[in-house]
Subunit: 391 residues, 2 copies
């Protein structure tokens, strides 16, 4: 196991009606003038924004609103948010929505206190200072409610990059599984896929002797096998949504990823897809991950077999462990298909002729130096091959 | 799943040589005059206290020392520590040792800022204020390095009680698995048992629909099955100690216990044993837990069978699930025996004639109202029967 530090000071409020106390927590964590940053009209129509506003008003807090965050949140709105916060002297950023609203809020919170271009943080500069951030989560997926990460799409070229820094951990996050009750099935399935991908990116490691984090990751994956399809197929099933929601937070607050190298090339490969075609990140991951697995399986057959046996319940083929490893990948693909996820370029709306360009951008684009990944260090040619496996 | 809040703001520094940076973290979390609170002479002999002192001196921090914490830490030393801190105007309490040094430090940190008798906190008064606490952990066991809990033995009657409050969560905890390298095997085995008991107290719940936390608990237990015996039998095996150490922290910071009722009667029943006979807490738990399980199995055969299948690898007997449940309990007992733990009163040094008294104190003693536990609400008669199963 590698040395590490772990610091997750986010205050989580989990359960029914949580959003009614938003104002209390904004106050507790030092906010007085709040930016409420949210996505589409559903948060307005459902009355969620009204409930949040009412709770801020009860605490005598002032606020301004900025809606319009899109999936794969854009740099343009971040600049707008930074300007608005400065003009209105905002001292707290409250995200209401899923990963996109939260990631956009994080970018704004960091940008407000920074003299340069906020995009610097998405090119490798660590975020050391940001306005305090709170979240009211509406969908389990990105894990951004408990993570120090944010992903933004640069509109000047349409590519996605990640920003990081402990200052981006939310001060508090309100997790109310009821809010998932009205989501379209497809969106819930994308969330389930994203959560499982966060776990798998941590699972594929080159670090030895990591049984404790292996077992935590496997445990969360096993929970997703039961609860994921229930959450997708039974809208309004509070218990399924609750299990998926806590799994989503634990999957990405890094308590199960400490002390080991992690990979994240699948996320990089996917980001090109969602940046170019504006598909849902989770849907992109459903297409990318099994292909990444097939391409890299031979690097550590034992690890793939362990996953297949422990999570997918495959029988171990002791004579030919690669059969077990393959059976695990196939089981994952079938699972993704069963919850309605796409499994190839066509179903995703991606095009073969873009492969060259995407592989180049993934490896050489803004802030990159030719390879991605650690479990398997992938060059442009490898990434091209992986895209081809998705055709 | 029940509503919950979860807040674990401890900064964990994990890995080799961690203690050399103690001063840096004391400073970061606001300390300037430090109480170094530790146990026996081993921390002195090994040079650990010297390394800690040197790191405080490098940061220009002042300190006073208070050693002598015993396993099952006593109220007497807590009073002494409180007095010393007040006299020396200490503003930070640094525990160097295992759960006993940390629990004693927590009691001192709370007592210094409290006008009344610190024991009030161990009779149900929540700790809302305490001096900041840091820890340098020397053994994986109690989980106190990441928990808001503390257990102290009242010398006026020799009984143990727990104090709680978010203010008791350490500001930072330094976890260096190397420090476990020189511990006696028996002590490591007691730690392994304590960690597994913390997981099982959370596992036995009356809350339904808790797959995600079930799976996390099971994952940590599975990790302990592999790493626990290695840590016991291979002193100096860094990797085994590292896995056990992170498991110990995760087992008790409550991330795997949120949203569900927990039991803790086994701990209460054990506390009478270690208070009366001064046996190691972990050794007491090894005797108590299987007995508690056998007595309460019939309350939820399915849950016991699930544990047996998922953790102990027992075959499910679909016709008679109670056979599976029993096989799981027996597997746990055998495991404890295999790592050198006692399994009955005699091996522990406990006496049949004390059963009446212990059952009475466990249920009716200081701060108690006749029953303990939630998965199984146990009265005095039940507790007597459970003690008898340990004969």
């Amino acid at each position: 196991m590698n040395n590490f530090t772990f610091y997750s000071p986010t205050y989580f409020i989990f359960g029914r009606d949580g959003e009614k106390n938003t104002g209390k927590y904004v106050k507790r964590f030092g906010g007085s003038r709040v930016l409420i940053h949210y996505g589409g009209s559903s948060a307005l129509r459902s009355g969620l924004i009204d409930r949040v506003k009412a709770s801020l008003e009860r605490e005598g807090l002032e606020y301004v609103l900025l809606g319009g965050v899109k999936p794969n949140p854009r740099s343009g709105l971040v600049y707008k948010g930074i300007e608005l916060c400065r003009r209105e002297k905002v001292d707290f950023v409250l995200a209401v929505g899923g990963g996109s609203a939260i990631d956009s809020s994080k970018a704004i919170a960091a940008g407000v206190l920074y003299d340069g271009d906020f995009w610097d943080f998405y090119q490798g500069r660590a975020v050391t200072e940001a306005l305090p951030i709170g979240t009211v989560l509406t969908i389990a997926a990105a894990g951004s409610e408990g993570s120090p990460d944010s992903v933004i799409t640069n509109e000047n070229g349409m590519f996605k990059r990640g920003g990081h820094g402990e200052a981006l951990r939310p001060a508090f996050s309100i997790l109310n599984p009821e809010l998932m009750g009205t989501l379209p099935k497809y969106q819930v399935a994308c969330g389930v896929t994203d959560i499982m991908a966060h776990l798998l990116e941590r699972y594929f490691t080159t670090t030895e002797e990591v049984e404790v984090t292996d077992r935590l990751i496997e445990g969360l994956l096993l929970a997703m096998l039961r609860e994921g399809p229930r959450a997708v197929n039974e809208p309004g099933n509070y218990e399924a949504a609750a299990n998926v929601m806590w799994a989503g937070t634990m999957a990405h607050n890094n308590s199960c990823g400490v002390g080991r190298t992690q990979d994240w090339a699948s996320h990089d490969i996917e980001h090109e897809l969602s940046a170019l075609y504006d598909c849902a990140h989770g849907a992109g991951l459903a297409v990318v991950f099994p292909a990444w697995m097939r391409y890299n399986m031979s690097r550590d057959i034992k690890r793939f077999a362990q996953l297949a046996v422990r999570v997918w319940g495959c029988q171990m083929d002791f004579a030919r462990p690669e059969n077990t490893a393959e059976a695990g990948i196939e089981a994952f693909r079938s699972f993704l298909k069963s919850i309605g996820m796409p499994t190839n370029f066509k179903e995703l709306g991606a095009k073969e002729e873009d492969i060259e360009k995407m592989a180049r951008t993934a490896c050489w684009g803004d802030g990159r130096s030719g390879t991605i990944g650690t479990f398997a260090e992938l060059g442009e040619k490898d990434v091209r091959e992986i895209y081809r496996l998705m055709l």
